[in-house]
């Protein structure tokens, strides 16, 4: 029920995001999802890509501070209220979301989430028979 996510540290200067994207482009890596969380000084770019390990190595070679991690991921039904329904499961069990974002691939939608309690989150996903997404599903 996990997929691989890259997190890259960037300072908040014009053009810094483009430097990350240039490295990925130079290495023929496809971006499936990208979100940015930022403060006045810095930001974190989170990416789901076609070849996470290759992207990780390429970014490290260019001295970016980058992390590659397995992140929880579940499929979202293409109908109104499905995101609310899933997030509600976590809320009622008192699991806080640190961040969450969604992206589509093919005809399906995937939810990516990081919580403050991973074990419990896994348990919730299992208990409620949420359809998990794995790296292989994205190929």
């Amino acid at each position: 029920m996990t997929i691989q996510q890259l997190s890259v540290f960037i300072e908040n200067h014009p053009g810094n995001l483009n430097k990350v994207l240039a490295v990925l482009a130079d290495n023929s890596i496809n971006i499936k999802a990208l979100t940015i969380a930022d403060t006045a000084d810095f930001g974190i770019v989170r990416l789901i890509v076609s070849d996470p390990q290759k992207a990780f190595n390429a970014l490290r070679d260019k001295h970016f501070s980058v992390q590659l991690q397995d992140i929880l991921s579940v499929e979202m039904a293409p109908e109104p209220g499905s995101l609310y329904h899933i997030l509600n499961l976590f809320a009622t069990e008192n699991v806080s979301l640190e961040y969450v974002y969604a992206f589509s691939y093919g005809s399906k939608s995937t939810l990516v989430l990081r919580t403050d309690n991973r074990e419990k989150a896994v348990e919730i996903i299992r208990k409620n028979n949420l359809k998990s997404v794995t790296e292989a599903d994205l190929k």
């Binding site: 997190s7 930022d38 989170r46 501070s65």
Partner: protein, 432 residues
């Protein structure tokens, strides 16, 4: 190994007698041959005959870097130029450079003290020594070179810069000793991966680092990254160059070659001599120098002295590792701050790199401090909250260590300019 047991393990009594004799000769020499010192001593009403030994040293005038600048280039030389065989100089980052001259005997003595230093670090004729200090007017390159050669090492005179080539030859030649500035050693350690090397490709076992102040924490960092014993070689061109003092295998202070360089610690304000263990400015009198002998040269480096015998068997007085200079000290809202304190905090926390730059500014008549710290490539955190907590941990640690509020900003790895010589760590925008 002890290079010169007779001197390095001499009893304190004998050492004092040797120093007494040498000081008496020195004072007569400078009074008669250096007009600057004759004038200074006459002003103080001191005659050479008033100096009967080391106990009279407080009667003598101090010498400052400005005095060397004022007498640029050769005004303080005590011998005619025909007896000078070498000239070195400071880089002169501020104002006029300072120049120093060496007679043949001075060079011999320099070779002797640097050989003692290399031996103190356990370096022998079997070692391959890569000298990555700059060769030239700066004393670092040639000073380390002559010392290593005197010990009988195979010396590779690399000089500074061109890191790729440094690493290539370090690997190909199997250098066992690296001699350079500590910041350049750290730069090389970090650059290894970029050029396709790992520390396992190297045969390094000892580092001889100097020419800039560095902390105990930095020593541990270098020892860990380079798999070496890191030794601190101290020196300055005004006194001789590298080799004035060096730490032995116990790393508990640097043994001063006090048969050549007599040390004192003085109060930075009153210039009164201070007892062992009390911090002050380090002052040297060059007991044997012929080219440019100096009385009570104030280095502005802050240290303490310790005359206790060392576990290594040497009786030579030890000076505490220099971590700051009285003129490097920043005064921020009335609080004294040394850049070394910041380095220490960062290395202690170990959550970021130790590369930083401190910006000092003044806004609405209030000093402000901003510290930019490079995030460690190997230590990325995935949430804004974790990164902000890291920032706050650093701010908190700095506050407890220095008593100052410093705003910390994380920056991307390898974005702060690396130096191949001395590191620039402070930008003081308050300067008018």
């Amino acid at each position: 190994m002890i290079w010169n047991r007779d001197i390095e393990c001499m009893s304190r009594d004998e050492m004092r007698k040797l120093q007494d004799r040498r000081l008496i000769d020195l004072v007569a020499k400078v009074y008669n041959h250096v007009p600057f010192y004759k004038r200074k001593m006459d002003e103080l009403g001191v005659k050479p005959t008033d100096i009967k030994g080391i106990e009279d040293i407080p009667k003598l005038p101090f010498t400052y870097k400005q005095d060397l600048r004022d007498n640029y280039p050769f005004g303080l030389f005590a011998v005619p130029m025909k007896d000078i065989v070498r000239v070195h100089g400071s880089s002169g980052t501020t104002g006029k450079p300072t120049t120093v001259g060496y007679t043949r005997n001075d060079i011999e003595n320099w070779k002797e003290v640097t050989a003692r230093c290399f031996s103190m670090a356990g370096i022998t004729s079997k070692d391959i020594v890569q000298v990555s200090y700059g060769y030239g007017l700066f004393t670092g390159g040639l000073g380390a070179h002559y010392g290593a050669e005197n010990v009988g090492c195979s010396v590779i005179p690399m000089s500074g810069g061109n890191t790729r080539r440094q690493l290539q030859l370090m690997c190909d030649f199997g250098s066992t000793v690296l001699a350079c500035t500590p910041s350049y050693a750290l730069h090389m350690a970090d650059a290894m991966k970029d050029f396709g090397y790992s520390i396992d490709d190297m045969k390094l076992r000892v580092g001889v680092f100097g020419a800039e102040p560095w902390t105990e924490a930095m020593r541990h960092e270098l020892e860990k990254k380079l798999h070496i014993h890191a030794h601190d070689i101290y020196g300055l061109s005004e006194i001789m160059g590298p080799g004035v003092s060096m730490d032995c295998e116990y790393h508990d202070g640097l043994h001063i070659h006090e048969d050549h360089f007599f040390p004192e610690i003085v109060d930075p304000e009153t210039k009164e001599p201070l007892p062992d263990g009390t911090e002050g400015e380090l002052v040297f009198t060059t007991l044997t120098k012929e080219g440019i002998p100096l009385l009570r040269y104030n280095t502005r480096d802050l240290s303490t002295l310790n005359h206790e015998p060392c576990a290594c068997g040497r009786t030579l007085v030890r000076m505490r590792k220099i971590t700051g200079r009285s003129d490097d000290m920043l005064i921020i809202r009335g609080v004294n701050l040394f850049p070394s304190q910041i380095e220490h905090v960062l290395l202690e926390l170990g959550e970021t790199s130790a590369h930083y730059i401190l910006y000092v500014d003044r806004q609405n008549n209030l000093d402000t401090l901003e510290l930019q710290v490079e995030l460690d490539e190997n230590h990325m955190l995935d949430t804004i909250r974790d990164l902000q907590m890291l920032t706050r941990r650093i701010e908190h640690a700095l506050n407890s260590a220095c008593g100052l509020t410093i705003k910390v900003t994380l920056v991307q790895p390898k974005t702060i300019a690396r130096s191949e010589g001395k590191a620039i760590r402070v930008v003081d925008k308050r300067k008018k």
